[in-house]
């Protein structure tokens, strides 16, 4: 017996997909925690020893062991770990004895600011470069953007940072050095500024401290520019290939035959359709920048999440390292999923 399916609203399949995405998100999140849990358990250092020090008595050790749940079977320990993480308990830093979550959330805005500015710059440069390259394939412009992009893929980001400092800070003195502000302004940051967001450019603007804004800008522009270069390499390459694909479509020919100006064909008609897959690419490069910031932040003494992780690494502060890893991992997974969802929302063809 066949029955004609009742007309459904388009919302239900979409909701089902979102539900599926949430399940995937959770499974991936569990996977992330499984890996960090595994890492923290193969660690050769006894966690009890590192908390109590070497002079603790046998009884104190046993008591701490019990309290930390180290006598439980491994799967139960993992359950406790997942539960703690879901409640926002990422452990306590060995170095500072502060909760890791608190320290990480203080550091996060600096990384967010850096990665956001870099992505904005990368999109502003990369998308037009990719579009122009696609309209004149094989031209000098096309070849040089390709080469510049490949060069971006080939340079160690920490070396690029050092060279940037050497040239623009040491020689030309165009930009501020390491850190987010000059030392003088650093004081007024803590005492005179209301910190709304933790992102210096926004905070200084909201406080109407434009002198400080200019100083902060001179500090952020070099690391952001370097990260932007790397994301531009990726974005321009992808834009070019999407655009090439789009320009071969029949509706483009139709528009041209109708006598539409070429500029309008490319920048309005074709680009509008290219924006859909580009959203995915931009979200991915944003996620990648959160990670790429690790080495850049180390070079520029940028007080973000990346330098938090590397600083903690140097003193073997494993709770801090793993807590930072979990936070970056969650941001990374979240951005991946978000790009997937956006893609489905924007592109009707992806809604099955």
């Amino acid at each position: 017996m066949t029955s004609i399916p009742a007309p459904q609203s388009r919302l239900i399949p979409l909701l089902r997909q979102i539900g599926g995405t949430v399940v995937t998100l959770f499974v991936t999140f569990l996977g992330l925690l499984m890996v960090t849990f595994f890492i923290s358990n193969v660690i050769p250092v006894d966690p009890v020893l590192s908390i109590l020090g070497e002079r603790a008595t046998e009884a104190q050790m046993a008591e701490a062991r019990e309290r930390l749940g180290l006598n439980e079977p491994l799967w139960k320990q993992f359950g406790i770990y997942v539960g703690n993480t879901l409640q926002g308990d990422l452990g306590t830093s060995i170095r500072t004895r502060e909760p890791v979550l608190e320290e990480v959330s203080q550091r996060f805005p600096a990384t967010l600011e850096l990665a956001t500015l870099a992505t904005i710059l990368g999109v502003l440069l990369g998308v037009p470069a990719g579009v122009i390259a696609a309209t004149k394939p094989g031209s000098f412009f096309d070849q040089s953007t390709r080469l510049i992009g490949l060069m971006g893929y080939s340079m160690p980001v920490f070396w690029l940072g050092l060279m940037g400092l050497l040239l623009f800070y040491g020689q030309l003195e165009w930009v501020g050095g390491p850190g987010r502000l000059d030392a003088g302004y650093q004081m007024s940051l803590d005492f005179e500024l209301t910190q709304y967001t933790g992102m210096i450019l926004l905070d200084t603007a909201l406080n109407n401290r434009w002198d400080m804004f200019a100083n902060a800008f001179s500090h952020i522009i070099l690391p952001a520019g370097i990260l932007a270069y790397i994301s531009m390499a990726y974005i321009s390459r992808m834009t070019r290939s999407f655009m090439m694909n789009e320009l071969g479509q029949e509706y483009i020919t139709t528009a041209r035959v109708k006598g539409m100006p070429e500029r309008r064909v490319i920048w309005v008609h074709a680009l509008k359709n290219v924006m859909v897959p580009l959203i995915t690419v931009i979200a991915l490069s944003y996620a990648y920048l959160l990670e790429g910031a690790v080495l850049t932040e180390t070079i520029f003494a940028w007080p973000g999440l990346g330098s938090y992780i590397t600083d903690a690494l140097m003193v073997a502060d494993m709770p801090a390292v793993l807590g930072g890893t979990v936070v970056v991992g969650i941001a990374y997974i979240g951005l991946n999923m978000l790009s997937d969802l956006l893609y489905r929302l924007v592109d009707p063809r992806a809604r099955v």
Binding site: G31, L147, W159, M163
Partner: protein, 301 residues
């Protein structure tokens, strides 16, 4: 020579080897037309050459310290690229460092693609639950920030070259599994696999002998494109002091040593970085060209 090219171009090859060599020859002709790819090939060949003959090419010992000749600028007679803070010749250290770089790259490309190939082909060939579970694991690893995971792994395992290699390999196999699975799905239901099956071949033999060879071209392209990434990650770990340990002349480590006096003696940090840049660019140019030649789908035409 001309008889060789006629033999290679023979439209009716007499043996399987002749046909294969003829195919490679045609690919080579196409690759030769791409100047950027040829530059990449040249750089890669130079890296191999330098790594093999480092003791003959290097003017000084890479590790011997000569404190009387500290921090000499580039162009000093006997030390063309200058010396570092222990009076070691930077050029010699870079030349010897190519061995470490090549060693790391080889170890990674002998492990990560193999693991990825096995997981991908098994998942694609068996399908069903095997596929779902293996690909879910792959996706989980793909969703991780690679460098940070490698950092955390090395932090636990302890710094050192072997652990750095292990960490890089553990974080770089998932894309290979994806590629191999996609290729497997396209050949799984083809007639020749069915024929082999009818002859009584088991899954291991089919995957090993008939599926994996079909996946190799796409995996090789991916490997060439990944090599630059491996070099950069290894250098990053070295830079943070988590990879190769001093006094070995690893390029990332050399940059971090030069960081202390970047503004006074710029060459100590600059020169090894240039070496990394040139070598990675070589791999990227070659990989880009190879992809255009071997994989017509993604050719940039």
């Amino acid at each position: 020579m001309s008889t060789l090219t006629t033999w290679l171009r023979d439209p009716n090859p007499a043996s399987r080897m002749q046909s294969r060599l003829g195919q490679s020859y045609l690919s080579w002709l196409r690759l030769r037309r791409n100047p950027l790819a040829m530059i990449g090939l040249l750089i890669t060949a130079a890296l191999l050459f330098v790594a093999i003959f480092a003791p003959l090419l290097a003017p000084h010992e890479p590790i011997t310290q000569e404190l009387g000749r500290r921090l000499l600028p580039p162009g000093t007679p006997g030390n063309i690229l200058g010396t570092d803070d222990f009076g070691r010749d930077i050029l010699s250290r870079i030349l010897y460092g190519s061995r470490i770089t090549l060693y790391i790259v080889l170890l990674v490309i002998l492990t990560a693609p193999v693991v990825g190939l096995i997981i991908g082909t098994v998942a694609g060939y068996f399908g069903g639950w095997t596929d779902t579970i293996l690909m879910r694991i792959t996706d989980i690893f793909l969703a991780f920030p690679k460098l940070i995971l490698a950092l955390a792994l090395v932090a636990v395992l302890g710094p050192g070259m072997e652990n750095a290699v292990l960490a890089i390999a553990l974080t770089s196999w998932p894309p290979y599994a994806r590629v191999a699975r996609a290729e497997t799905l396209t050949v799984r239901n083809s007639d020749y696999i069915a024929a082999v099956k009818l002859q009584g071949a088991g899954p291991i033999r089919i995957i090993w002998g008939h599926v994996i060879p079909m996946c190799l071209p796409s995996v090789i392209i991916r490997v060439t494109l990944d090599m630059a990434g491996v070099i950069l990650t290894a250098a990053g770990l070295g830079f943070l002091g988590l990879g190769v340990q001093p006094p070995l002349p690893e390029w990332g480590l050399m940059i971090s040593a030069g960081r202390k006096f970047l503004f006074e003696q710029w060459w100590v940090a600059t020169m090894p970085g240039l070496a990394i840049f040139i070598v990675s660019l070589g791999f990227n140019l070659l990989g880009d060209g190879l992809r255009d030649v071997l994989d017509p789908k993604s050719a940039s035409k």
